[in-house]
Symmetry: C2
Subunit: 354 residues, 2 copies
Amino acid sequence: MNFKVKNDTFLRALLRQPTEYTPLWMMRQAGRYLPEYRATRRTAGSFLGLCKNPDFATEVTLQPLDRFPLDAAILFSDILTVPDAMGLGLYFAEGEGPKFERPIVTEADVKALHVPDIGTDLKYVTDAVSQIRKALDGRVPLIGFSGSPWTLACYMVEGGGSDDYAKVKTMMYKNPKMMHSILEVTAQTVTAYLNAQIEAGAQAVMIFDSWGGALSHSAFHEFSLAYTQRIVEGLIKEKDGVRIPSIVFTKGGGLWIESIANSGCDAVGLDWTMDIGVARQKVGNKVALQGNLDPTVLFATPDVIRNEVEKVLSSYGYGSGHVFNLGHGISQHTDPENAAALVQAVHELSKKYH
Amino acid sequence: MNFKVKNDTFLRALLRQPTEYTPLWMMRQAGRYLPEYRATRRTAGSFLGLCKNPDFATEVTLQPLDRFPLDAAILFSDILTVPDAMGLGLYFAEGEGPKFERPIVTEADVKALHVPDIGTDLKYVTDAVSQIRKALDGRVPLIGFSGSPWTLACYMVEGGGSDDYAKVKTMMYKNPKMMHSILEVTAQTVTAYLNAQIEAGAQAVMIFDSWGGALSHSAFHEFSLAYTQRIVEGLIKEKDGVRIPSIVFTKGGGLWIESIANSGCDAVGLDWTMDIGVARQKVGNKVALQGNLDPTVLFATPDVIRNEVEKVLSSYGYGSGHVFNLGHGISQHTDPENAAALVQAVHELSKKYH
């Protein structure tokens, strides 16, 4: 394996080391907005068919990098591979999003939960990581990822997506012990899973707490951040003498940015609602920041995109510690030309801040 | 009309005057969780049938007050009566939520927008206000309300509800002038509408910015708060020698609480994500705060509800300026007994803080 990364701007920014420009990648950069992705997905037959086959996963992971000069690759996978490996039976009903055959309803369901054997049950993921890392051949770093225990538990208890999280929040309020048991096993699993990705070649890891923002202040700290923090503490910090930075992204988590920054992570991901300059004032000396353009800006024109990119860059201001990203995944309805305009704008306009 | 309010605790709390306990009401307190509401709705035939008939609107507005000792009544209506009166043609497709026959798509659609004649086109609302006020006979104050221009514009451009606000945000980024024109006419309409409600008897008014939280920091200030502020400035401040307080509620607006508090309103409504004690530290001397229990707490048991109520009360702390509420509308799946437990807990537990 090639240990040298030709473009390590992303890793340096995460560690708040000097860079020549602001690196960027886009959440969901390998996705349906790219015609080449849609073609591979057709060949694979399904979304899970892409995730579970390391050849396909490698192919789609590299597609956006072949099109745009992005500064990082992210493993193509899905956060729900984890509860699937924990025995819940993930499937995708056409046009309905992810579902579980065996959602967690009773105490017996919780007791039956187990930390899966990552090397067996999630081998297809670690195989994909190794294969992508090899295929990248040091072009840019590879990011591994997982959902946070709270976010995974939302799906595990709701049995799929939800608008109001009524089931999982009712369990949390009515039976906090049961909720904590689920989160405990899930946190152990996620820690092992991310460490397996690091062993397989991931050079940075990101924890997606997509539904942390649905919680109250105190519930967020008790049921989401406490477990994220435990994972961060259990991560492999260095591999082959190179630091492995961690990023924690809580959608809707701006109000709690100080506590998130104190979780031990190297960088905090921001959605688009918080001014990144305000965020930097609050936590700038502790962590790097990743974000935070509203993805709907990409529905506008290259001129508007450039203007909005400049707003984010100037709000962050001078110096390192900023990884540019969208505040949420890129929409499937985005014109790839506008994604190209974004990448160009970030690279060009950010030089003056370094 | 009876100008004396027997229980004016709510009004005093909004003005940060001393009270004996923390007053409360619940967003969507007249709603589907109440069997008596469902019965009236069946008689009326439809949701709009309730809104447009002052007798029915009066009946359902008073139902929760007959059941629970709440400290305020809120006009039963819908925020979308405003775009309907502006000519968009509101209808409810069964099981699909609100829709508009003529959403705003082109510049010509924007040009065709007009400030409706409130006294004619929205007479059914002001009639309902007068009738409710008379029926209340001074029991508790009556709250009038409207959606914020941004929130109304979301529906007007999307043509109904939306998950990602792609249409309205694309318009905002691509054609900000067009967006501002819509917001301008809507703000004029909302100002006239709220003032007509005050003239008809509303003793406090609330502006619901339900979708302000979907915006970036700068877009929120430019496209949402600027128009809310203009409305607040244009409101009748006093009627018959009595101050008419205003409340601004931005769902997901915790990050911007200081700017919202500077809009000129008397109180800021909070969803459940922000710690109300932190909110008070940020703005406590400027405005009252209304909120902010997670409505899913009401799916738990009376003991849990009591415990969570105490958390909110103790986080706010000693003194006046707090109106207890949920952080969002009460769910239709709530057991009315649990709503009763909430009301009792707030009244009992809050005494020690006054």
